[in-house]
């Protein structure tokens, strides 16, 4: 990482305003970093150099004209998960079925951030249609973890996480359906937030499991993350499930974390999130972090979320059911791949056979089965009822015991590429501490809290009340500043270690 690619967003902003460097120089530095590292990391599917350079030139003239009045992300490079449609930039969802698709419109979260000056540097790799926890399910090949390139970066937003971790971009957008922002953030040593369901518009996020999907930001610090969240949050009339809750000024949450730390805050620690079989290094690091929270003024409270163990089976009914329905649109008619055939039915079946990868087919099959005639009540309805029980667990904890919950993100650190590839069910268990939060529609954030014996990062998860991202940012910022885990020095170490 050179100097410009390791700066914080605030440092980039002040460097741009004081003319130490231009937006074009800043964007070029990141494009060079991508060029130098993408062959190994495979974190980008599309690098949009030309559009990025012209947006950077435009940003330079905005800064020349408006200076401090220019929008907060002016000239800041951002990587975008290739699950979000980008007008004029190929959008694949890492699937062969969408290869070559150039969307005629822009995702709301992307257009909001671009309106605030952000420069898209490219589209990042992911598990095909966001189905996976390792980024190995991409038809464009796996992404490699910058900390150890023999290991996965997590998934499904593995490309966005690797990009931010390795200095290819200071900020990125991802999507999180069962942990797809928080788990890769944890495995690559960065910060990632899944906002409350409905906080950020899903318009232009390619639909996967619509009652669970949410777009969110990645960054190398909580402060940086807050800037991107501010840009994308808020009701959008084009997503009827987005909620009209006022969006607070997130810099106030950061200031509160800075000035008051965690004083008077009750932090719930759910016993069901410390389970047999989790990596002892993860448990140790998370428990030590709880001690840090206490030192910051928090009161730790034991809480119970008794239906936690039902979350994965519930999730793996709802998720494939919604996915099978959403993915019915890939039929070889309006966009993407078409395989030749004599009849329409045959064309559908062949196109989908060729265009979808194994995990996507698996979920379509499960989802089709659980929604098929005669099974709806036993599976989908049952799962929606258990979802209510899971939601009630959180409601009770927040009503009676605590203001925020602290827990692990992932039961293990980054695993080796190929290690879990043969067992779909094993891979599903990676979501154990993250998918309950999607089922309950709550905000969750992963913050780096330590590393294991091999130096691989570990994340701490903060889980909040609906629409209370502010408390997560406050906790995250106070913890991040206090933590002995210094991501920026680790980032420099990582950069020399993977020696590109």
């Amino acid at each position: 990482m050179n100097e410009l690619t390791s700066l914080s967003v605030a440092e980039m902003r002040s460097g741009l305003l004081s003319k130490q460097f231009s937006c074009v120089e800043l964007v070029d530095a990141h494009l060079s970093r991508i060029e130098a590292t993408n062959e190994v990391l495979n974190s980008f599917i599309t690098i949009s150099s030309e559009l990025a350079r012209s947006a950077a030139q435009n940003a330079d003239s905005v800064i020349a004209q408006s200076g401090e009045e220019s929008p907060p992300l002016t000239g800041i490079p951002v990587a975008v998960k290739d699950m979000l449609v980008t007008e004029g930039i190929e959008t694949t969802c890492a699937s062969q079925i969408l290869k070559g698709f150039i969307p005629p419109y822009q995702c709301t979260a992307v257009s909001r951030m671009c309106k605030r000056g952000a420069v898209i540097v490219g589209k990042t790799n992911l598990d095909e249609f966001a189905m996976g926890a390792s980024n190995e399910n991409s038809s464009f090949g796996p992404v490699r973890n910058p900390w150890d390139t023999k290991r996965v970066p997590g998934g499904s937003s593995g490309g966005s996480a690797a990009a931010v971790s390795a200095g290819q971009a200071p900020l990125a957008l991802g999507t999180d359906t069962g942990g797809s922002i928080r788990q890769p953030a944890s495995l690559t040593g960065i910060v990632g937030l899944k906002p409350t369901y409905g906080r950020v518009s899903r318009f232009g996020a390619v639909a996967f499991a619509s009652s669970l999907d949410q777009i969110g930001p990645f960054a190398r610090s909580v402060e940086d993350l807050a800037v991107l969240l501010q840009a994308i949050a808020g009701k959008d009339e084009r997503d009827s499930t987005s909620v009209d809750e006022p969006v607070p000024n997130y810099s106030e949450a950061i200031a509160k974390g800075e000035n008051e730390a965690l004083s008077k805050l009750r932090v719930g620690v759910p016993k069901e999130y410390f389970i047999d079989g989790m990596d002892p290094a993860v448990e140790d690091s998370v428990r030590k972090s709880l001690g840090v929270l206490e030192k910051l003024g928090a009161t730790l409270v034991d809480v119970s979320l008794p239906h936690t163990e039902l979350a994965i089976p519930t999730y793996y009914i709802l998720n494939p059911a919604e996915a099978s329905s959403n993915l019915a649109r890939y039929d070889g008619v309006r966009y993407g791949l078409r395989e030749p055939a004599d009849s329409l039915q045959e064309m559908y079946a062949r196109t989908r056979a060729k265009g979808f990868g194994p995990e996507v087919k698996r979920r379509i099959m499960i989802g089709t089965y659980v929604l098929s005639a005669g099974y709806y009540d036993a599976y989908y309805l049952k799962a929606q009822q258990i979802r209510t029980l899971i939601i009630n667990d959180f409601k009770a904890a927040f009503a009676n015991d605590c203001d925020v919950i602290a827990a692990p993100v992932s039961p293990s650190t980054a695993f080796a590429i190929g290690e879990k590839a043969d067992s779909p069910l094993q891979m599903y268990l990676a979501d154990v501490f993250t998918c309950p939060i999607n089922l309950a529609g709550l905000p969750g954030m992963s913050v780096p809290c330590g590393s294991d014996a091999d130096g691989l990062p570990i994340g701490l998860q903060f889980i909040g009340k609906p629409f209370d991202e502010s408390t997560l940012l406050r906790c995250g910022h106070a913890f991040f500043k206090q933590s002995s885990f210094d991501i920026r020095s680790m980032a420099r170490k990582q950069a020399t270690e993977f020696a590109i």
Binding site: G100, I102, P104, Y197, G198, S211, E237, S240, T241, V243, L310, P313, T314, Y316, I317, S324, D331, G332, V333, R334, Y335, G336, R338, P340, A341, S343, L344, Q345, E346, M347, Y348, A349, R350, R352, A353, F356, P358, K361, R362, I364, M365, I366, T368, Y369, S372, A378, K382, A383, Q384, Q385, I386, R387, T388, L389, I391, P424, L425, Y428, A440, G441
Partner: protein, 94 residues
């Protein structure tokens, strides 16, 4: 509820997916493993529990029925594999 090979064939047909023999065998094994795992939910007593549809209880989202600009035919069809002047072209239906 174990799935038979006939069930797998039926599901693949409903899902409009052509499976190769290898994929078919893998699906038979994996789907049964996964269903066996999720079947643990059948033991949970959910009598009287209301099913969740929207996590924050949003029910209907109405808007005024106003005509607004939409994409041109060129924009809508530019990604299509096959079109003619009237719309999308598909293989024989009947």
């Amino acid at each position: 509820m174990a799935l038979s090979k006939e069930d797998i064939e039926h599901i693949a047909k409903l899902a409009a997916l052509e499976l190769s023999p290898d994929e078919f065998n893998a699906a038979f094994q994996e789907l049964n493993d996964i269903l066996n795992y999720i079947d643990q939910l059948q033991a949970v007593d959910t009598r009287g529990v209301v099913a969740t549809s929207h996590v924050h209880g949003v029910v209907n989202a109405f808007r005024d029925d106003v005509i607004r600009p939409s994409f041109s035919k060129e924009q809508v069809t530019k990604n299509a594999p096959s079109i003619d002047e009237r719309g999308f072209r598909v293989p024989k239906v009947i």
